[in-house]
């Protein structure tokens, strides 16, 4: 039988523990609550219509939402993905069965940002399509979309700035993602510097990458940049004389063989 009252009490305790930042207690409460929720009959995919169906659904949904938030704040991306996957049927299939969750925009925004940080852009866009219009207009999802747009365009300055100022974020939970995003962005900037500049000195590189000069040296050695003696870096390659190796022989041979095969084929 569904034990609604105890589940509700545990849920409230969990929320309090999470808000006060007590991660260990939150984790243990979460465990108990998940086990309790798994015995509710009204959940997807069974959807048995008991008297307390609406209550069960909302408690289960709140549980998984707290699970996602907890995973995000403790930096556990895999758990965040799993919990969001468990949460999705509640958003999609149960939309009419209970009042909308206030945390939905936040959770959706966090999920999209997580996909972005993990560089799964295709899945990001597929997820974005399934988000309903009401949630898509919220500040959280708009923030995630703006981040993706900046990343694609190359407006890294904006992203680095956003990661430095936590107040600009719609919620404090994004802070964990922004840190890893900043790392990704730095890598990208380093790669761009290699291609775009003929030479750059250390101070300029530090300013571009938004980090201290010491880090610049670390990145340079990792990527194999050539130093020019003054602490700067050179990227221009020497022009090699054209040689026989420049002809893409393999490719041409493959292509010609394909033509011959197709032409001679008897059907």
């Amino acid at each position: 039988m569904a034990d609604i009252a105890t589940a509700k009490k545990t849920l409230d305790a969990l929320k309090k523990a999470h808000n006060s930042g007590d991660a260990v207690k939150a984790a243990s409460l979460l465990g108990t609550l998940k086990i309790a929720v798994s015995s509710f009959p009204a959940l997807p995919p069974v959807f048995e219509q008991t008297k307390t169906a609406a209550d069960e659904l909302s408690i289960a949904r709140d549980t998984f939402e707290m699970a996602v938030l907890h995973a995000v704040t403790s930096g556990n991306e895999a758990a965040a993905e799993r919990d969001h996957a468990q949460l999705r049927p509640f958003y999609v299939d149960c939309r009419g069965l209970m009042p909308d969750s206030k945390l939905e925009p936040l959770i959706t925004g966090l999920n999209l940002t997580r996909l972005l940080v993990q560089n799964r852009i295709a899945e990001f866009h597929v997820e974005l399509e399934t988000v309903p219009a009401r949630v898509a207009d919220s500040a959280h999802v708009a923030h995630a979309v703006a981040l993706e747009s900046d990343l694609m365009e190359g407006a890294y300055g904006k992203i680095l700035q956003a990661s430095m100022t936590p107040d600009a974020l719609p919620a404090k939970e994004y802070a964990a993602f922004m840190a890893s995003l900043a790392l990704t962005v730095r890598e990208e900037i380093a790669a761009c510097i290699e291609k775009a500049y003929e030479s750059v000195d250390a101070a300029a590189a530090a300013r571009l990458m938004g980090c201290a000069p010491a880090d610049v040296a670390a990145v340079a050695s990792k990527r194999g940049w050539r130093g020019d003696g003054n602490g700067g870096f050179l990227f221009a390659e020497e022009k090699k004389a054209p040689s026989a190796e420049d002809i893409p022989a393999h490719e041409l041979i493959n292509q010609t063989l394909m033509y011959a095969k197709e032409m001679e084929r008897i059907v």
Partner: protein, 482 residues
């Protein structure tokens, strides 16, 4: 399909009364659904198709439309007389009534169900939903391959009926079950149709990842009717576009556009919209005439394409301001076409195109001027990153001078000294070879045509000549080897 417009309730009831046995369980319900009134006696009542053709349908593809047109050929003398009085009866070809054997066939019953469905759908009657469910329930009692073609059509209209009345989600479980059954019975036509219907269902609700999962796991049946293949390519193209695989998407969508029948103007319009957006995302700007004069469908189609035309103009100019204005102005249209997110992704292409124009026009330009031209605003150093990323992605050929804050474009290299012409040739050659292979695969035996004996002789003479010629050519080839 011209007879479909002429189908009235009365004619249908006549057909039902004549072609179904009284002991048939569905007969009464079908007659009721069709309105129950046969037409008044004096007028001749042309039947939509002679019953004999129906049972020979067998394994033929869903060129059911083509078959109907064939059958209608026998009808026209009769229908011409319908407008006037009964006086023209003498010229009418009297339709052959169905034989008792044909009346007992389940195919006849399935055909009757299909006709009633068509009538209700064209009249936008909400009864069509329950009628389609009843038809499917009745057909599920049989396991005959000859019913496959009819069943595929009925499933299609079942899904269409529910879609028209907004209940598409409820159809999904039964479609999945039907697909399972079709796969078990090797019902290829059914499998094909239902797979397309399921994909349409998922895409209607924007569930792209589920559509992709289904498509990748389901077995594609071997026989592909042209219409179903067009639909399949369209849905696949949409999924690929959302998944950021634009080259695949463009290939699928353009293939669908080519294969689509001339009459499918709405379909061609949809395809044009998607192809335009995908081409813009790939970085190539479609010609203006592709979106205006070359579009079939006249003024209405051009009006529908107007948002996309303006979008193309904004991207070609590389003007961010104009792009944003177009995006806001036509937001409703994009949302209806479900291309909103794709259009949002175009922002980066606008910037890229603008940068390319600038780098081609200037050999050296300060970064602030670049920012001003692109409309990026003074975002302290952002422009530098944007240019650097564009250079890294290979969009433009330039270098940045950090201290002087300028961008220097590199000199244009001679294209013919690189491998690019060969690559372009290769793409075209591969395409021609593919088309040739597909054409060969699509060849079919010609229909048996009855000819007089005189022609027969002439034909065989020609054949003999051809054979001799072929022999000569072969002999010559053998000579060449020596």
């Amino acid at each position: 399909m011209a007879w479909r417009k002429k189908l009235t309730a009365q004619k249908l009831v006549d057909f039902l009364l004549a072609s179904l046995d009284d002991s048939n369980p569905s007969k009464q319900s079908l007659v009721d659904l069709a309105g129950g009134e046969p037409s008044p006696p004096p007028l001749s009542t042309p039947k939509p198709a002679t019953p004999k053709r129906r049972s020979s349908r067998g394994k033929k593809q869903t060129e059911g439309d083509v078959e109907m047109a064939d059958a209608e050929g026998g009808d026209t003398p009769a229908t011409k007389d319908e407008d006037g009085d009964a006086a023209g009866d003498a010229n009418a070809i009297p339709p052959t009534p169905p034989t008792p054997a044909q009346r007992a066939l389940p195919e006849t019953e399935a055909y009757a169900h299909l006709l009633v469905l068509l009538l209700l759908l064209d009249a936008n009657d909400p009864e069509c939903k329950s009628a389609s469910v009843a038809a499917l329930n009745r057909l599920s009692q049989f396991n005959r391959r000859t019913l496959d073609a009819l069943q595929a059509r009925i499933v299609f209209y079942y899904s269409l009926a529910h879609e028209r009345f907004g209940e598409l989600a409820e159809v999904r479980p039964s479609l999945l079950a039907l697909h399972r059954v079709a796969a078990l019975r090797f019902d290829e036509m059914g499998q094909e149709t239902i797979l397309n219907l399921l994909m349409r269902n998922y895409l209607h609700y924007n569930m792209y990842d589920q559509a992709e999962k289904l498509r990748s796991k389901a077995q594609l049946p071997a026989s592909r009717s042209n219409q179903q293949q067009c639909r399949y390519l369209y849905y696949l193209g949409r999924i690929r576009a959302i998944q950021l695989e634009y080259s695949d998407a463009k290939e699928c969508l353009t293939q669908a556009h080519r294969k689509a029948p001339k009459l499918a103007k709405g379909f061609a319009l949809e395809l044009t919209k998607w192809i335009t957006v995908v081409r813009l995302l790939l970085g190539e700007v479609p010609e203006k005439k592709d979106l205006t004069t070359a579009v079939s469908g006249g003024a209405a189609a051009q009006r529908a394409l107007l948002p996309y035309l303006e979008l193309t103009a904004a991207v070609r100019l590389g003007d961010l301001e104009k792009f944003r204005a177009v995006q806001e102005a036509h937001e409703a249209a994009f949302r209806a076409d479900k291309t909103t997110n794709l259009v949002t992704r175009l922002r980066r292409n606008v910037i890229r195109t603008g940068l390319r124009r600038v780098s081609l026009a200037y050999s050296a330009i300060s970064l602030d001027d670049v920012a001003q031209k692109l409309g990026l605003g003074e975002g302290d150093g952002d422009v530098e990153f944007v240019v650097a990323k564009a250079i890294r992605d290979g969009g433009i050929d330039a270098t940045i001078d950090h201290d002087a804050r300028t961008m220097h474009s590199s000199d244009a290299t001679d294209v013919y000294s690189t491998g690019e012409p060969q690559a372009a040739f290769h793409a075209r050659i591969a395409f021609c070879l593919d088309t040739h292979n597909e054409a060969v695969k699509a060849m079919r035996y010609p229909d048996k045509v009855k000819k007089g004996t005189g022609d027969g002789e002439g034909k065989s003479a020609k054949d003999r000549d051809l054979e001799e010629l072929a022999m000569h050519i072969m002999d010559e080839d053998e000579m060449d080897e020596f």
